[in-house]
Amino acid sequence: MRNYFVFLRRCAAIAFAGDWRYYAWMGLLTVLCLLGLNAYCRQFAHGLIVTGMSDEVSWGVYIANFTFLVGVAAAAVMMVIPVYIYKNEDLHDLVIFGELLAVAAILMCLAFVTVDLGRPDRFWHLIPGIGQFNFPRSMLSWDVLVLNGYLLLNVHICGYLLYCRYRKIKPAKWFYIPFVFIAIVWAVSIHTVTAFLYVGLGGRPFWNSSIVGPRFLASAFTAGPALIILAMQVVRRVTSSSSLRAGSPGLGSAPLPPSKRRAATLEDLDLLSRDLLEMASVPIEIRQRVLPMVEVLEVPAGGALLRQGETEETAFFILHGSVVVVREEGGRFRVTRTAGPGEQVGEVSALHATPRMATAIAEEPSLVLSLSADALRSLMESPQVNKIVRSRMSERLLITDRALMTLRSIVQVSMLINVFLLVNEVFKEFYSGNLHDASSKYLFVGLEHHHALVPWIWTAITFNLVAMVLLVLPVSRSLKWLNLTCVLCIVGIWIEKGMGLVIPGFIPTPLGEMMEYRPSLNETLVCFGIWAFGLLCYTVFLRMSVPILQGRLSRENEGASDRSIPAAAPASPPG
């Protein structure tokens, strides 16, 4: 128990430590939160009249954001499926980040519902047992239950896994796996229940359509992972140059040393460029310059190129054969990867002059090029070589490009389904030409000189279509294009699901009155405040969890000052 409080205290302490970028970001978010709080206090004092809502359009951006964020929360956990069901190792560490995102999103959801209440002081009327809870008849009571349940589930799973990492113990399966599976089902349920909030209203034909539920899920699985793709790259950027922990030296049984070494020739470099095409771009002058710093090693099977914990500025490229990289963690050995011809080993510690993170052993008799750090740097003057080496390096950190590509394929499929369902909806509304399509008309083409939402929905549709095309094209395999696509997805779906679903449901009113809605400044400030609050929470969660996952914040270094645990770069000055 005491241990747990120390863990919590250290987590809390680390949230206040960081470099100037961290403080600037948190400062900005805090200011936005306070502006939002100020706007909310004004609303609390004067009532919802300070918003743009009316009896005609009685829900606005609060509920729109709520709906969007429920989707984000649901999708964040759905990433668990590839990991726990299909054993996809790439996404393993991402799961915790996804679940933390779910926690932050649910907190935002709860905030958005609360600010939408006319009498937030009477929230206790909603508490089962104390108040009057209209369960199971009211879908809103379902939503209260599933959202809070989901919050608890995710807090439990993340908290437990992180605590185990912190203590370097293996998590007890029975204590989290069942919850993981419950969370998966629960994730579907939170978004379905939220869709049912709308679908269940017979008096609103725009919502009263069975396709809303599937559309919600499809759009959630597009926007959620898209958001994670972006967030993870920010995390990676911030943590990329961090030094990973140096482990204990060597394996149990001492591996053999390399048997033969000789000076390299230009032919050896040519041999490398056969498997590492980027090498061909290195000009001959540079090749000649690095030649004295390069050696060729003949390594027998079982021979070690480098050992975990040693400090030595050599990197290796494999010419022939294969090498396994083994990492010792808490007395256990884990093969982290296998490197074949053209691939590199040991470049991270060579470039950063940090201890070796793992041990590399030849699986079969292999031929290896050994370079000094300077030689490697010289070769990396070629942009192509630099790019390939760097991208392979980043793969080995928490968030690999492969993981991002797995997320990309989730976004890809979901977006296709999302657009397909949208086409279904539009066809049904417009082709049949019945009289219940006034809201759709208002949304897509405008009705009786009212067309406030028309530019919005067409922006959303354009964004979604462009994103869909980009996702299908191979171009979105490059991170630059993928990021653009993700931004398009998120904005497109936010509009489509928020402004495009909630607002037109009210226009025209059930009595046929046309009244448009525009969020007021005060309302907008409250929304920004809540988003800032959510980002603040998520930043803090990441700030705590990244060092834990990387092993830099653990029970072993309990005595050490937490302020010296950097968010990221070893270069960042402590606190």
């Binding site: 829900w59 006319g118 108040g131 009057q132 809870f133 009211s138 025209p508 059930p510 009595l511 046929g512």
Partner: protein
Amino acid sequence: MGRRSFLRTSAVLTTGLAALAASLKPLLEMNDFPTMERFLQKYYKEMTPQDMAKVLKRIEDEVEQQYHLRPHVRDLKPMDGVEFVYCLNLTRCIGCRKCVHACVAENNQSRDPEIQYIRVLRLPDGSLDIDKAGHFYAPASVPEKGFFYMPVQCQQCENPPCVKVCPVHATWQEPDGITVIDYDWCIGCRYCEAACPYWARRFNFTKPSTLPKERLNLDMSYLGNRPRRQGVMEKCHFCIQRTRAGRYPSCLEVCPAGARKFGNIRDPNSEVSYILKSKRVFIQLKEEMGTAPRFFYYFDV
């Protein structure tokens, strides 16, 4: 902790607290902060007669404090063997909107912003398509040629969607068919407003305005026309303070055309029973919703 870091920490803390205080400042503009007594008030159906007596006295005190007039606030119960039904003769209605204003006066509704329970629709002859309705017609005189008028208010459905969706049971159907709201229990989520197919519910987006003293209706009922607060729903309740005491709703009394009929459907000799038995066609608005309104529109044929 060093001197420098102490100074820095205290500077950050002071700035932070000052910013927090500044953000919270609008709360000072609040003049209706709930008292502990109101905060802890029980749910209508869970109150004992003693609890209710206390609450009614408190409401009377509050009104008296505000207006220097003592109202008579009652908690009228439904009568046995009574189920109220409203019938509205569309042939007779001339669209004068007198009912709208009589309702506002009777039920002590906020005047600024004005909350009205009744919306009179102007429809072109020959169509009952609500999408064609005019809401804001303002001719020199009514009725206008080529149009008929349809006042819409709470339809007191037998199967009310608003009651179904309320997460806290703040609105429910009484045995006499009136769907009521406990204004002191509503949390203001407005889900009922989204659920109502008749757009019959109104929300207090801000504190209801104070009425001129002479306009205040002192005959009040807990579930009816007693003063409401900011952030809660309200709607037509068939003038519960009148009808449960054996009087007609005020919209009926004021109607100059005699278009409105109200009564007990369980009494075979009542006017509404006669109308529903004798008219060949009567209209329940949006009948296909399955809400089964207790509000019937009919024509003189």
